[in-house]
Symmetry: C2
Subunit: 368 residues, 2 copies
């Protein structure tokens, strides 16, 4: 695929260092567009900007980096989106400092779908990962695109849940799009590039620099109508994303949990500060004023099968009732129901197949 | 102990049926006090009230019930508090419909101490009971009297926690004070009568009538600076108490929990409606503007031993770290730590003795 002059001009502008966004706006207005800006003489530039900035533009980007970028842009489904693109995300344009241009790999139409961000800690609990995936699947089924940051833990689970339904998922990353960080998410990144989207405002080759991640977070919230924090410790970057979302006028949602879990403390702080406490995907949709589909209904976060599963009957129903809402082993269930261990084992297999219970390590089972 | 004329007059007034509080205020103002009101002729009464009300007063209460009441009042530490008592609780006087008179057994000085109500479901979880008792103990240690309703479950745990420290505890009940409901709380009621307080606005002999309990709840919140809901299902009476507290301008606090637990749904609804989410007793004290003592400090609700327990060391520390915040069995802990089952068993016994873990049914252990 060929890269047209406008895209090449934007890529060049993106690669310039030391060009403030405000200055860029002035220059683009004056010259009419990125191609014209590139063709401008240093003399005409010098009338508008400092000699330093004029020479930065005149000199242009590092040719090797530009060539890498253009090679990347020639791949199928690779592209960039700039301020003057008609499909630059309108939600992102509404924030105080939208990136003038970003790179994008994946399904372009996802950029203007209603979206929700789901974020949380990297070292989340199994329960937290399950929540992230289940809420993401239900919200995606309701037509929302799930935006997250491709980190391990909650982010990855949210992307997986989003990819499972119609709304799909977009990752906003803090590196160049020719890199995957963390490497363990390489396969997930490939799925996102094919069925969802990968987005970065950073140049090709940019490594995972800590200073880029808070900057990246404003794009996660900026693309979204709201941010759902699933599990977050008090020092989690998710709290920064939530704060940015509130500053951008977006909704903030948080899932509560045990007062003894450090992974619920972040969510609890957000709720105290005004975030909406949510128990189900339906709660989120109602707050956003989105019509609730059957997928998102239910008292617990619907996880694909579970919401469609038929009601348990006979022995299975008895075992399910005895299970309560905490993990339980076969011995406990035997004591509670008075049934033989064999009967319980059979019932648990049935319930697991029906998607109503989850098998945990250590021979424990939990309602899902 | 003898019952003076004023107390007898108030007991008589309390036993009259069909005398609205508003009318009572008018009559007391006119005649100067309960004794004078009792001595009033029907003719002078008829000038102020309807003939029906005048004859109710003139006829007086059922002599047998009055005698039962006076017998009860003659017991040590039994008494009544009426509007014109200097130690009628000032917090209760501030509500829209304070009872003109109530019966009280116990330590009279507790009636005017700063108080907090702790309420919740009868069928609470073990975790909920632990929270109720631990928060109550910490808040009582900070000088707050714990008010609750003597029900099974959260109420009883809150009373026990309150009795354990300096603030003590007062039960507001929906029956006559010569009865205990539920009977399983008889021993607790005796402890409250000795070391705390038992309070009722209902006549001696009043059985546990369902219609009296919501009325009783306004006194629970009315005595208190705030109401803490520990665990409550969506149809729990605790939500009524919380609503009354909000109407009375008192603080409402709620402890969050798992989105899968029906016992957390009431607390979550309250938080959505504006209740303060609290994780520790310190959170409650800070909201109430009460100086925080060492007892109430700490990230988790301090439960006696746990807060004083020394840090676990060596194997114990390893096992504790592997436990996380969900119940876990020895096999799971063995897998997570790589330690032999015997070493883990020894460590768990040490941790249990040190008050750092709780042994649950089914061979599970949980951090406390």
């Amino acid at each position: 695929m060929d890269v047209d002059a406008r895209v090449e001009a934007w890529a060049s502008l993106q690669l310039l260092h030391g060009l403030p966004a405000r200055t860029l706006v002035t220059l683009l207005k004056h010259f009419g567009g990125p191609v014209e800006l590139h063709a401008a003489s240093q003399r005409s530039l010098a009338k508008l900007v400092s000699p330093e900035v004029a020479s930065v533009i005149e000199r242009g980007p590092d040719p090797a980096v530009l060539e890498t970028t253009l090679t990347w842009l020639r791949e199928p489904c690779h592209g960039l989106a700039a301020w003057d693109d008609t499909d630059y995300p309108s939600a992102l344009l509404a924030i105080a400092d939208p990136p003038p241009v970003f790179y994008y790999a994946g399904r372009r139409e996802l950029l203007n779908r209603p979206a929700i961000a789901i974020v949380g800690s990297r070292n989340a609990t199994p329960q937290g990962l399950e929540h992230a995936e289940a809420f993401a699947a239900a919200l995606s089924a309701a037509g929302l695109t799930i935006v997250s940051g491709l980190a391990s833990g909650i982010d990855a689970a949210a992307h997986r849940g989003g990819l499972a339904a119609v709304g799909s998922s977009v990752a906003v990353v803090g590196t160049g799009l020719d890199r995957v960080y963390p490497p363990s998410n390489r396969e997930l990144a490939q799925r996102l590039e094919r069925d969802g989207g990968m987005l970065s405002e950073f140049a090709m080759g940019t490594p995972p620099l800590p200073e880029n991640f808070p900057r990246r977070n404003r794009v996660i919230s900026g693309l979204s109508r709201g941010v759902l924090v699933v599990e977050a410790t008090l020092n989690s970057g998710s709290l920064i994303t939530a704060r940015l979302a509130a500053e951008q006028g977006r909704e903030v949602f948080a899932i509560p949990g045990s007062i003894h879990s450090p992974f619920s403390k972040g969510a609890h702080r957000l709720i105290r500060d005004g975030a909406k406490l949510v128990e189900t995907a339906q709660d989120v949709l109602e707050e956003l004023g989105i019509e609730v589909t059957d997928h998102a209904r239910g008292t617990a976060p619907p996880s694909g099968e579970a919401s469609k599963a038929p009601a348990a009957e006979g022995t299975s129903a008895k075992v399910l009732a005895a299970m309560g809402h905490d993990p339980a082993g076969i011995d406990v269930l035997a004591r509670r129901t008075g049934l033989a261990a064999e009967a319980i084992t059979v019932a648990l297999v049935e319930l697991e197949v029906a998607g109503r219970v989850l098998s945990l390590p250590g021979g424990l089972y939990q309602r899902r």
